[in-house]
C-alpha cells in the first residue's frame, strides 16, 4: 500500500514539471513563417476603427500583386498595442513590420530595438525630398533613419455647419465661415453658446476641449513653448509663454464662458450630437463624424490663437525590429515602400499623407477635410523627441486636467508638473 501511495506523487512530479515548462516556454508550435519559398511577413498595427478596413484593403492588394511575399496583418487595440510591441522587441518575438507613433521612436531607437534603414533609403525607391520635412525627421534618431512616416495626423477645427448657419456665421455666399484667428474664434463661439433657460448651464456650447493633451500642446506650441525645452534638458512649463497659453485656455471656460470645464464631460460625443459647435481634433476622428447620422460638419485648419501658427500632430511610422534576417528585411522594405506609395488610399480612410507628390495630386485635393487639415502640415509640432517623452506625458495630462478643472491654481500645477518632469529628465 505505501508503495502505491508513493507512486502517485512520483507521477505528479514530472507532470508538474511539464506543466511549468509549458507555461514558461509556450507549448505552441513554432510559427510557420515561410511557405513554399513565399516569405510570410507579420505586420502589426492598432487600426481598430474604419482605418483598419482601409489598411486591410491595401494589404490585400499587396498580397495579390506580390507572389513571393505574403503579409499577415494583426490589429491590436492601441490600449495594449505598445505592451505587445515592447515585449515583442524585448524578447525577440516582434513582427517584421509594425506601426509606431513618433513619440515612441526615440525610446525604441535609443535601446537599439529598431532596424537602422539608412542603407535602404540610400539605395533608392523612396526619396527623402518627397516627404514633408518635419514628418521625415520625426522618423530619425541621432542622425540615422529608423522608420518611414506613413502619414501625419494634425489637429484641426471640426465645426457644425448647421449651427454656424443658424447663428449667422456665414460668408457672402451664405456658407458657414470657420474662424481663422482668436478674435473670430471667440466671437463665433459666443454666438454659438446658447443658454435658453438662463440657468448658467448652456444647452449648447460654442467650443469644447476634447483630448486635453493635443489641445494644450497646440496652445503651448502657438505661444512658442512646450512641455519640454528645445534642448530636451528641462521642462518649459514654468515659462511666461506657457502661462499665457494656459491662461487663454482657462479664459475660454471661466471668463468668456464659451466652453465647459472638461470635468466629467465627453466633449466629442457632444460635438457629434450637436451640443458642441466646434472642437479641435485629429484628422483620425473624421470617420466617427462621417458616420454620425444628421450631423453636417466641415473641417478647417486650426485657428491661430497665439503668435505662432503651430498645431499638434503625430505620425504613424513604419518600422522593422533590429533583429531580422536579410531576406525578410528586404521583403519588409518592399512592403513599407508599397504602403508609402499607396498612402493616398490610406488618406481616404481619414488621414493626411506626407508624400509631397501625393499631397499635390488632384485626387487628394478632392478629399475636403483631409485637404483642409493638410494646410497646417508645414507647421506641425510633434511631441518632444526625447527618450523620456512617454514618462513625462502623464504629468502633462494631470497638469492640464488640474488647471482647466481648477483643481489647483495654475502656477502651482505648472510648477509641480515642471518639477516632476525635471526629476524624470534627470533620472533618464
Amino acid at each position: 500500500m505505501p508503495g502505491r501511495v508513493l507512486k502517485l506523487p512520483l507521477l505528479l512530479l514530472p507532470l508538474s514539471l511539464l506543466l511549468m515548462s509549458c507555461l514558461t516556454s509556450g507549448c505552441g508550435k513554432q510559427e510557420q513563417r515561410a511557405q513554399n519559398g513565399v516569405i510570410v511577413l507579420d505586420f502589426w498595427n492598432g487600426f481598430t476603427g474604419p482605418d483598419g478596413k482601409t489598411m486591410e484593403k491595401i494589404v490585400d492588394a499587396f498580397n495579390k500583386e506580390h507572389k513571393n511575399v505574403k503579409v499577415r496583418m494583426q490589429i491590436i487595440p492601441w490600449g495594449t498595442y505598445y505592451d505587445k510591441v515592447t515585449l515583442g522587441l524585448a524578447y525577440g518575438k516582434a513582427p517584421d513590420v509594425f506601426i509606431l507613433h513618433t513619440d515612441r521612436l526615440p525610446e525604441y531607437a535609443d535601446s537599439e530595438a529598431l532596424n537602422c534603414i539608412d542603407d535602404l533609403v540610400r539605395l533608392g525607391g523612396l526619396q527623402p525630398k518627397d516627404f514633408m520635412p518635419r514628418a521625415w525627421s520625426a522618423a530619425r534618431w541621432k542622425g540615422h533613419q529608423y522608420a518611414i512616416p506613413l502619414d501625419c495626423h494634425p489637429i484641426g477645427l471640426y465645426y457644425n455647419v448647421d449651427l454656424f448657419k443658424k447663428a449667422g456665421i456665414v460668408d457672402d455666399k451664405g456658407k458657414a465661415k470657420p474662424p481663422r484667428n482668436l478674435t473670430e474664434f471667440v466671437e463665433a463661439a459666443k454666438k454659438l453658446t446658447v443658454d435658453r433657460n438662463k440657468d448658467g448651464r448652456p444647452e449648447q456650447w460654442g467650443f469644447a476641449f476634447t483630448w486635453l493633451r493635443t489641445n494644450a500642446h497646440t496652445f503651448l506650441a502657438q505661444y512658442g513653448t512646450g512641455w519640454i525645452s528645445r534642448d530636451l534638458k528641462h521642462s518649459d512649463l514654468t515659462s511666461p509663454n506657457a502661462r499665457k497659453a494656459f491662461s487663454l485656455m482657462t479664459r475660454f471656460i471661466y471668463q468668456d464662458k464659451i466652453c465647459p470645464a472638461p470635468e466629467g464631460q465627453d466633449a466629442w460625443v457632444g460635438f457629434r450630437t450637436g451640443k458642441v459647435a466646434m472642437a479641435l481634433e485629429g484628422i483620425y476622428m473624421l470617420t466617427s463624424v462621417e458616420e454620425q447620422a444628421g450631423l453636417h460638419f466641415a473641417g478647417a485648419p486650426c485657428p491661430q490663437f497665439g503668435p505662432v501658427p503651430a498645431v499638434w500632430g503625430g505620425s504613424h511610422l513604419m518600422a522593422m525590429p533590429a533583429k531580422i534576417s536579410p531576406e525578410r528585411r528586404s521583403a519588409a522594405w518592399t512592403f513599407i515602400k508599397y504602403l508609402s506609395d499607396h498612402s493616398l488610399e490610406w488618406a481616404r480612410g481619414g488621414q493626411v499623407p506626407v508624400r509631397k507628390s501625393i499631397l499635390a495630386s488632384a485626387e487628394f485635393r478632392r478629399l475636403k477635410v483631409q485637404y483642409e487639415f493638410s494646410k497646417k502640415l508645414p507647421h506641425v509640432v510633434y511631441l518632444p523627441q526625447s527618450v523620456a517623452t512617454n514618462q513625462v506625458l502623464p504629468f502633462c495630462d494631470a497638469c492640464v486636467e488640474a488647471i482647466l478643472n481648477r483643481i489647483k491654481p495654475m502656477d502651482e500645477a505648472l510648477s509641480e508638473a515642471a518639477r516632476r518632469i525635471n526629476h524624470v529628465l534627470e533620472r533618464s
Binding site: L10, M20, L87, S111
Partner: protein, 289 residues
C-alpha cells in the same frame, strides 16, 4: 521510522505544490529584489547595477509619497467600516432566523465576482451623466455629483465599492468565529441577567478576538494592495487623488517599463505593510484571550 515514512509520503504529495510555489512565488520575489537594484528599462540590452538608488529616488519622489498617503486614506476608510459591516452582517445572520442562507449567498456573491466586472458595474452606477445614483439624487431635487471625477469624492467612492465588494468575505470568517463561541457561556450570561448588548460586548467580542485580529490584519494587507478598482475606474486621477502605491508601481513597471524603479516601489510598500502588520500584532489588545 513510521513517522519518517509518513513524512516522506507527505513530502511527495507536496512536491507539485512546492515546485509551483517556488517557481511562481519565491523565485519572482527574489528576482524582483534583484531587479530593484538595477536601472532596468525593458528594452535596454544591459541593465546597470545601481544599488539602492531606485529606493532613494522613490523616497524623494513626491508622487510615491502621495500614493502612500492615498493608500493610507483608503485603508483607513475600508478596514474599520468594512469590518464593522461584516461583523454586523455575521451577527445578524447568526440569529438562526429562517432563510438566512439566501442572505449569506447574496452577501457573498460580490466576493466571487472579478474586480473588473465590479468596477465596470460601479462605473455605470456612479456615472455623472447616466448613473442611477445621480438619477435618484436629481429625482430628490439634489444636484448630481461627479463621483469619480471630483478629487474629493473619487477615493471615498472607490472605498464604498470596495467595502461592498469585500464585506461578504470577512462576514463568513466572522460567522465561523461566532459559531465557535460556546452557547453555554452566552446562556450563563443571560441567566445572570446580562442584556443582549452586554452579552455582545462582554462575551462575544472577547471570544471573537482572534477572528477580529485575523480579519483586521488580512484586510489591512489586502486593502494596501488596492489596484483593480483604481486602475479601471479612475486610472489614479483626478489629479492623483486615487493614485495608490500598487497602481503607481504598475504605471512605472508595466506602463513605462522602468522595471527597476517599479520593483523598488513594490518593495517599499512591502516594508510599510510589514511594519503595520507587526504593529497591529503588538498594539491591538486582541492577542491574548
Amino acid at each position: 521510522m513510521k513517522a519518517w515514512n509518513r513524512n516522506k509520503y507527505a513530502a511527495g504529495f507536496l512536491i507539485p505544490y512546492f515546485s509551483l510555489f517556488a517557481v511562481f512565488v519565491v523565485a519572482p520575489i527574489v528576482y524582483g529584489f534583484f531587479i530593484s537594484l538595477h536601472k532596468w528599462y525593458i528594452l535596454s540590452p544591459h541593465p546597470t547595477f545601481v544599488g539602492f538608488a531606485n529606493y532613494r529616488a522613490a523616497l524623494k519622489d513626491d508622487l510615491f509619497r502621495i500614493a502612500l498617503l492615498r493608500t493610507g486614506y483608503f485603508v483607513l476608510m475600508v478596514v474599520p467600516i468594512g469590518n464593522a459591516l461584516s461583523l454586523l452582517l455575521a451577527v445578524s445572520l447568526n440569529q438562526g432566523y429562517r432563510g438566512t442562507t439566501i442572505y449569506k449567498v447574496c452577501y457573498y456573491l460580490p466576493v466571487l465576482t472579478s474586480v473588473s466586472v465590479v468596477a465596470i458595474v460601479w462605473r455605470w452606477l456612479l456615472s455623472s451623466e447616466f448613473g442611477i445614483v445621480n438619477y435618484y439624487l436629481r429625482l430628490l431635487g439634489l444636484r448630481s455629483i461627479n463621483w469619480l471625477s471630483d478629487t474629493k469624492t473619487a477615493m471615498p467612492s472607490i472605498a464604498l465599492l470596495s467595502i461592498w465588494w469585500g464585506a461578504g468575505g470577512n462576514m463568513l470568517v466572522y460567522l465561523a468565529g461566532l459559531k465557535n463561541i460556546p452557547r453555554e457561556l452566552l446562556e450563563a450570561a443571560e441567566i445572570d441577567g446580562a442584556s443582549p448588548g452586554q452579552r455582545f460586548r462582554s462575551v462575544t467580542i472577547p471570544l471573537l478576538r482572534p477572528t477580529i485580529l485575523f480579519c483586521l490584519v488580512m484586510s489591512v494587507i489586502a486593502s494596501s494592495q488596492v489596484f483593480g478598482q483604481t486602475y479601471i475606474l479612475t486610472g489614479g486621477g483626478p489629479y492623483y487623488s486615487t493614485l495608490t502605491v500598487i497602481l503607481y508601481m504598475y504605471q512605472q513597471g508595466f506602463g513605462l517599463y522602468q522595471l527597476g524603479y517599479g520593483a523598488a516601489v513594490g518593495y517599499l510598500l512591502f516594508a510599510v505593510v510589514l511594519v503595520f502588520t507587526l504593529l497591529q500584532f503588538k498594539l491591538l489588545p486582541f492577542r491574548r484571550l
